[in-house]
Structures are given as structure tokens and as C-alpha cells.
Symmetry: D2
Subunit: 341 residues, 4 copies
Amino acid sequence: MVLFYSDYLEGCIPEILKELNDSNFCQTPGYGKDDFCEEARNLIKSRCASPDADVHFLVGGTQTNATVIASILRPHQGVVCAATGHIAVHETGAIEHSAHKVLTVPSVNGKLCADDLSKLMHLHYDQASPEHEVQPAMVYISYSTELGTLYSKKELQDIKAECCKWGMPLFIDGARLGYGLASKESDITIEELSALADVFYIGGTKQGALFGEAVVINNPALKKDFRYYIKQNGGLLAKGRLLGIQFKTLFTDDLYFKYAKHAVDLACKLSDAFKAKGYEMFAESSTNQIFPILPKAKASALAQQFGFEKWCDIDADHMAVRFCTSWATRTEDIDSLIANL
Amino acid sequence: MVLFYSDYLEGCIPEILKELNDSNFCQTPGYGKDDFCEEARNLIKSRCASPDADVHFLVGGTQTNATVIASILRPHQGVVCAATGHIAVHETGAIEHSAHKVLTVPSVNGKLCADDLSKLMHLHYDQASPEHEVQPAMVYISYSTELGTLYSKKELQDIKAECCKWGMPLFIDGARLGYGLASKESDITIEELSALADVFYIGGTKQGALFGEAVVINNPALKKDFRYYIKQNGGLLAKGRLLGIQFKTLFTDDLYFKYAKHAVDLACKLSDAFKAKGYEMFAESSTNQIFPILPKAKASALAQQFGFEKWCDIDADHMAVRFCTSWATRTEDIDSLIANL
Amino acid sequence: MVLFYSDYLEGCIPEILKELNDSNFCQTPGYGKDDFCEEARNLIKSRCASPDADVHFLVGGTQTNATVIASILRPHQGVVCAATGHIAVHETGAIEHSAHKVLTVPSVNGKLCADDLSKLMHLHYDQASPEHEVQPAMVYISYSTELGTLYSKKELQDIKAECCKWGMPLFIDGARLGYGLASKESDITIEELSALADVFYIGGTKQGALFGEAVVINNPALKKDFRYYIKQNGGLLAKGRLLGIQFKTLFTDDLYFKYAKHAVDLACKLSDAFKAKGYEMFAESSTNQIFPILPKAKASALAQQFGFEKWCDIDADHMAVRFCTSWATRTEDIDSLIANL
Amino acid sequence: MVLFYSDYLEGCIPEILKELNDSNFCQTPGYGKDDFCEEARNLIKSRCASPDADVHFLVGGTQTNATVIASILRPHQGVVCAATGHIAVHETGAIEHSAHKVLTVPSVNGKLCADDLSKLMHLHYDQASPEHEVQPAMVYISYSTELGTLYSKKELQDIKAECCKWGMPLFIDGARLGYGLASKESDITIEELSALADVFYIGGTKQGALFGEAVVINNPALKKDFRYYIKQNGGLLAKGRLLGIQFKTLFTDDLYFKYAKHAVDLACKLSDAFKAKGYEMFAESSTNQIFPILPKAKASALAQQFGFEKWCDIDADHMAVRFCTSWATRTEDIDSLIANL
């Protein structure tokens, strides 16, 4: 069996493993105050052309989302996202657990539209007594999205403009940031993305690290006391060096992007193969997740040899499924899968 | 410089590192549903003689404490602990962040006394309108404590009896459980401790893992839906296998306890040396943390060669300091430190 | 100007005012432990044919909803309601403030359907890893609804059956309970409604009291420690007698229902007049709130003499508006309004 | 039996009752947007010589404390108060329910000392990693205190100076503000107190209103969106006019202070009588609450005719008790009580 369930099926890229081995007996202070973390922070700031950013390392995506959002919102405020946003549907209410409402707008191919955001804001503020409703106060989007889709630079700029109009920070969940930026469809660089985001994070867990997410805070108003938030939310890893070592490695020789490109290229190859066979796609993804719609019989047959995830039923006879590639996916396994279509 | 700041200065025990290397390319399902985790759960249940327990793996201590406590308490209830309890003073209000009050009783050598617990319970319930106060509803203790001290079996039994009297679960924070059980002073086994605790955890982070805490839930009423709580609190590691691999290793060949004994033996040696030189101790620890009281000049001199933590001022000329040993501490470094006293 | 903005424009029914005057210098214990409250509790239990219920008095609706829901849910659980539910849209996230997600299903004429509830439950539980989502764990409906509409007895029974199937309590917001039960369309009694609800409340604020909501808890599992929840949520009125006096009065001589009928009769008269003039209704209400759709010019003209609320835009030329009647509405004012149509 | 249990045993001062009667059929908009509220706000701002303040009305003390504190603190921050502070011990964890820790300093005769505050702040900030602890970020004091005692102007200025030094708002709980200011011991005016407080409230519930607390926000940074917080915390009374009517009346002809003086004078008379009989006092109160220490036999005898509250045991034979006077206390009842000593 070869598994395509997700992009976190294996351990980590060999370069990280080597660094972990090499550094194992080195003594360092805890909680991210070590030199590995400092070096990783500098590499990231440099790569993002964001020299004044604050960079922090957390362990996982749900934790990072909850921490960042709790650090920004006041109790009466909510975060706006697409109905398919990870924080809205797949984090067991971690945002509500820190007492904030997630305000959703319709998802268009996995994305939030600036126009829908504008409508929501007007609905809130164009009433005599807005204080009876949760105040929308920040925007959350994912790049790439939960459906593997991508915002164009223009779409991001429009969302950012809308945010600015209402004084709202823009937060970009980059759990799969590398896969997004490595896509042929992407028309934006990490430097440009960083310039648009008040805060965003660079996902490690799904991009070749054992675990870890690097939060980049560009908006100075959002920097204060962030370490308190990390600690309160259980994200201040005692052996913080592990995060430093991993991100230092990922941002050395641009490994982060090279491995992402490997995964995306294989996903494209697979996607093209599905399309060539006449299968439709549930979402127009150009990143490392693809969502072909299969006859259920065909899905069952494939599942004898390959692991993949059922996404949702389409009709009585068809379902959408998800195949994920990663840094660890082997070309021969993709070829074998294609041969089986 | 040799550092004794804490027990999380290095990476992990070599046996774990080897397993991580060996398993790196193995494909596993995420979120703790892999075979490594299953094997680790079985080893722990067996070692604790708690075959019916549920075992879950989380990443760090603050996260584990917040998750367990949130899973037990109702909104109007609080957790009782010693004034020196980690949850009371050193987790940035993570318990309050999940909306619960930490109710403290005086700390006696780092410990909570059954008598003080009894008094607190009577104060609450022996009033006409207890509903104006937070209801004490569970007890949190640490083994070993934040001051490196240990409860005797009798003390634990008394606390447990008091808990039973009021229908309160007993939760034992075992971030340094192994160091406690490995102490010569300890008169309890892990099997006996597990039998007393409604829920407890076995610390990995400070005991030779890269990270990780294994929660053992013995009380059937506390088992339901625990994975929801882990996820909501950001503790459901995507690559859960990492936790499985580590705990499987720690509980193979009793490595967990062997390494703990190594650390405790060296700490005792150091403690004896301090005492032989006439230094008093801030706390009567017999585990891997020791707290000598030093003249400030002496402390400054020692700090030229050895890293240790200032604990608190005693008077104008003296301070208590903390030395920690760990699985990684070398005998020659302890000898060199002793030579410098 | 005569105002029809809401049903809380005036003070209270004269009978309550008289009782407040008569009792003013009487000394009573605080926090609901007085005889007035005891008498009111007994009257309510008797009227609801729920002798074993616990009855508590709170001050307002948002507070009551937040308190009841917080008393029922565990942290990882959410409350299911129609998308138009008051808790979903009009309480500034009070439910999220106590850390719970509000899970919405489509609103059908202001109502939640048993079928949609069933679908939601299956979606949650028919997946391999439900713990990544908030667990739906109770149902909130309003009787009458936010759109003035009513559930039939059959609809309520179907919802209740679905709740029982999944072990979920049913909570009925009765801020406008009397108006609902007094409607000609209603096919249920308060006794029957109480038998269906695990917990519900009888609204005072919008039904002739100065303020106050009477919570009736039928499910024994939900009774424990409820006074703690009230106090914690700021709802334990020091002069609790005020609530006792008001509900005692409302449930003497069935005043609660007599005044409700008065309001509903006038609303029906007004509704009939609108329909007779050819206006369509935004919602099919048979209670004290009606929602005619008016040409904007007509609305402006009416607004010269009568106060009413804009509900929402329908198209460029039309809007839905809301007229509310209450215990205090005078027949001559309704006649004058009708004359102006 | 004459009751001295508390200052909320009766309804309200006759002047308020008259206004409620007179206004009962008047139609007003809801939620505090009526003219009564506007007039009350202006009277309060004028009386406090705080023309730029924002004034809001809430229903009860616990609700007000929770709302104000939630509006000020960030998630990682706590509120500092004396160990006897109402928020620390008598509000069922309402502050923790909104996710904030209450950080206590020793209570000195019911009061917080500037020196203890200074020590707490230094302990927090004079460490290398303060982010492992809750950040103290505002100060809560009561005037008069829970023990009926008063801060001198100098003590208040010292606390304020310490607050300013650390950039922390000072919040004064004035549930019994009038009784404090009416005391002969008081050396401060309401204008001066308002000038010192970033935010404070004027208690109605315990000072002759049926219910209600008037929050005065002086610090411009704390004004934004306060109505959202009130609504979210269940404090936005639908018939807000009731609060306007009551505070308008209390602040007409200085009734608030006249009635307070009446209560305080009677309490002093009673206190003097206890002292003349040789009884010691548990706290040095000069306001409307007094705390004599009585032999238990004496207390039992008195309790045959007079209602009062046991405060705490002093020794096997003695207990401290509390007598409260209020606007409604009659001179003849005090005389009769004194005759019984």
C-alpha cells in the first residue's frame, strides 16, 4: 500500500534529521531563546524581506491559529473567514474555546472574496445598534486553501484593501504556504505575501518538518507580549531548539521551497492524469492536494492499492476524494498510481 | 561552561534518536492512530498495571494540565493545588484562560496537605450560600513537586481519601514523575501511584524525550471524548507517531526509570557535597532538582563556570539557587562542580 | 407618535406595579431566597404541571441563554440552532464568550427542522474522526421564534425525538412564550411544552414585567449547582424578591396569558389589515410581531406618525418592517394605524 | 424581627418608586437610549465633575465587575486586588469565567497597599522570563471596602501613582461608594475620586435603588465599544429606562448621598454603642457595615430579635458578626438594638 492520505505521513526531510542528530548533545537554553531559533528567525526575516518582523515558533496549526487570533481580538470581536476555513470547521472550536466567534462568508472555490467581506462589514456597521452583534475585527485566509486552491495577487490585494478600509488585520494561515508558492499558478512571492499580511505563518508540519509553524508578525501593534500568548496557549516548547533547528534547515538552501516544488510537480502530474482520463475535479487545485471525483466503484478498486481520503459524496454513484503529495512522495509511486487509473 | 539550568537542555536519549532515524520514512496515519502509539499505550498500561486506563499523548506540560483540567471541571468549579503548584504560578494563567479558578492552599515544602484540603472544603460547603464562591472540584498535585520534594505514600493516600470524601478527582502532574519514583526517598511504585490517581501523566519532555507527556486516565468517568479536548487545546499532534515512538522507547527496557535514576544519583551526590560544605537547602529535595542556599559572592564565582538558576533571594547576602540534573548529565561534570565548591 | 418598535417600550403591567408598591418596605433575604420567589416558583411549577421542576429567576434573555447553555455544554460541545436563532445572531457572541460554538442549520420560516438536525448529527458522527469538529450536544429553539412564527406540536415532537436519539437536551427560549401560546395557530399548551423541554424559560421582560425570565429545569441531570451558574454569569439579583413579585403576579389569575392574548389579538387585527390592503408578509407570523413588506415610500409616510422597525431590504423599492404589539398596546392606536394604511 | 443582614433587604427609596409609577406608561426606546438615561448620565457627569466621562448603566455588581475587567484586560493579563476583594472571593469566579486570573496581595484592614502592589509588579517584571506568569495589568479596589473600611486620599493617590508607573488602569468598585463618601472618616469627594479612577462605578443596588450600577469611564482608551461588552455580558437591560429613572432620581437633590448619610450615621451610633459596651471590632469600619466581635452566647441571644450575619469565627467562644444599615433603617430599630446590648 502506498498512502496519499495527507502530507504528514512520514517523519521529516533528511536534512532536518541530520541536524537533529548532530545537535543532540548540545546544551541550549529553553523556550526559544537558543541560537538555533535566533538563526532561524533571521533566515526567515531575510527570506521574507521583512527585517522588522517578529518571528515565533509554535508546534501545530490549531494551536497557532488559536494563539494568533486570541492575541488580536477583543472579547466582543470575531474573526471573518470562508465557510470552508480550517478554523471554522476543523479545529474542534479552538477559536470559540478562546471565546471568539468565527464569522463565515461563503466559500468560493475555498476562498473568501473581498466583496463578501465588504458586504459583511456593511451589514454590521450600517445598523443603528451594531453592539447586539459580534464585531468583525480581523480576517483569516489560508494560502494555499483547504481545497488546495490559491488566491491571485489581485485577490489578496483586494482583501487587504478591504481590511485596511475597516482597520482589520489580515492573518494568513500558511500551513501549506510552500505548496502554494511553489505552484505554477501562484503569481506572488513570499516577500509580497509577507508585505500584505499583518501576521502569517509558515507551515512546517505539512512541509517536511517533524512539526512546527513559524509565525511572522509584521504589524507592530500585534507584536507586544506575544510570548505570553504562546505560553498561555501551551505552545512554548521547552526544547524550543527543535523548532529552531528545523526552520533553520528549511530556510537554508531554500529547501522549504525545493521540497514543496517536488510535491506540487507530482500532484500536477497526477491531476493531469486524472483529467486525461476524463475525471472532473471537485476543486480547481494547482497545489499538493487534488480532489478528483470518482465513481464509487473506481474508488473502491483504487483503494486496494493506494490510500487516499474520501472528501465528500457527490451523488449516489460518485464521491470526491483527496490525494496529497509531500516532500516524501516518490515519483515511482505516482507513476504506479497513474498506471492504475 | 556546563549548564545545570534545567532538565531540558539537550535533545533526547540516544535510543529515541535511533528510533526516529529508523522510522523516518515509514508511512503512518496521523493524530495518534498509528501502531507506534498503540504499542506505547500498551507498554504504559502494562507498566502501570492499569490495563483499563486510556492513554493519550500530548506535547507539553502546560498544554496537558490545561487540557486535563478543562476536561474535568464545570464552569463554576476550580482546581485546588498548593500555592507553589505549577498551574498556579508558572503557566501564564492557562487554567484561567480555559475559565477556571486555581484555588490555592499553603505549600508545605512544595506539597499540599490533606488537612488544608479538608479545611478548604469545609469552608466552602459549611456556609449557607456556597454558590457565591467557586466550587473546589478537583485536586492537582505534582510528583515530584516543583521544589523537587516527594509525597510519601501515606500523604498521597490521605489526599486521595479526602478527595473521595468530597467526590473530587485527583490529578497528578508527573512532568518529573520518573525522577520522583527513582528517588531513594520514594516509598511508592508507579503501579501504586496509578491506582491512586484518577488521572496522571508521565512526563517525557524533562525525562529524556524531545517532548511529550503521556496522560493516563484511570477514572472511567473522565475518559469520554478526551480526544476532542486534546484537539481543541491544540495538543493533537499531526505526526502523532513521534509521541508513540518516544514513549515506546522510554518504556522499553525500563529506560524511563534507568535514566531517571542516573539523574537522581548525580543530584544526590551534588546535594551531599553541598551539605558537606555546610550549605543549607531551600527545600528538602531528594530528586533531580536541588536548591542550595549560597552566599551571593559564592554564587557569582560558581557562575563563571557553571550555569544554574537563581531561585529567590533569601536575605541581602544569600540566595537560593537551583541545579538540575538529567539523563544527559555527565558524572565528570558533577565531579568538577563539586571540586569547585 | 405611537411606537410599535418592540414589546418592551413601557414599564410593566399595573398589577405588578401595585405589588412593587405594596411590598416596598418589606424586609426579605436576598438572592431569590425570599417568600415571593418561593410562591412564584410554586405557581409556575403548578401552571406547567411540572411539580418536580427547578425554577430559577434571571434578569434578561441574553444572560439566561448564556447561563443555561454554559450549564449544559462541555467545552468541546456546541449548541445547534436555526440560522436566525437569537443566540446565533443577536447576543454579541455571549455563547462564544462562554467558549461554545453555535452550530447553525438553515432557518425555515424562523424554525429549525428535525431533518436538518438529523443531517447535522449524521455528518458529525458518521466520520472516522469526529473529534476534529465541535460536537453538537444540545438544541436551542425559540417559541415563538425571532420571526414571530410557531412550531406545531408535531414539529416539536419530531425535534424532541431527534434530540432523544442523540442524547441531547432540548432548550426552549421562551422570551415570547406567552405570545406564542396565546396565538390562535398554537396547538400546544404550556404543560405539553414543558413536558417536551429539558429546560425552557418563561419570558417576563417582553411580556409585561419590568424585567425577568423564569427558567424551568425539568431534566434532573441539569439541575445540579444551577445557582452557581447564575451567580457566575451575573444573574443572581441581590433583590431577588423583585423577580419573585413579578412572576407571582404574572402567574396569578393567568395574567401572563391574558395580557399575551391582548397583544396577539391586536397584532392579528393589524396583520389582517395589511393583508387586506394587499401587502405581503416577510414571515408567516401569528403572534405579536408582524413583518409586512412595504414600498419604501409607504414606509416613510407611515413613519411620520408611527414608530416601527426596519427589518431588512427586500429590493430597491421594498423593505420588510416589524410592528410589535404588547400588553400595553391600545386598541385605538391599532385602529388609527389601520386607518393610515 | 428586625433584619440587619444586608443593605438590600427592602425595595427602593420612595422617590424612585414614585418615578417608576409616574413613568410606567411612557414609551421609550430600549437598551439605555432613552431620555431618562441621558438625563441620568448628565447628572452623574456633572456631580463627578467629569464632563468627558462615558456613563453606562448595568444591573448588578458581579456583572459590572466582570464586564469592566473583560473590557480592559488582554487574555494573558490579570487584575490585582486585595485578598478580601469581592472579585477574588465572592463572585463565583466570574472574572476567571471571562478567562482572567485574579492576582491577590495581602489585605490590610480590607485594603490593598501601594507597597504590596509595587512588590508584585517588581516580582513580575524583574525576572528574565515574565511571560511564564500572568501579567498584572489593572488594579481593582473597593470604596468602601468589603470590610466597610476606607482608603484615605493619600492611600488612593499612592495606589494611583503606582498604577501610573506601570501603565495600569485603576478600577474602583463603588457598590457602596455613597456609604464611603458619607462617612465622617472620608477625606475625599466624589469629584476627587473620579479624577483618580480610570473607571469606577456608583452602586445603586445597595444604596437605595431596586438595582443598578452606574459605570463612569474616565480614561478615553477604555471607552471604545463598551456597549458591546455590556451586551455580551448580559447587562444591556431591554428596559434600560429603569436604570435611567433610578439614577436620575438618586442624583437629583443629592438623594444618593443624603440617604447614605442616614445609614452611616445609624451605623456609627450602633458601633459606638458596641464599643461603649466593651466589644472589640473585627474591622475598623466607619461606614454602613460594622463587624463587632461577640461572645457566641451573646450573639445567640441577640439573634432572637435581630437578624445579622455571622462573619467568621474568632475563637471557640467568639465570633465576628456583621450588621448593615441602609437608607431604610429606622432610628427606633437601632435604638431598640442598642437597648438590647
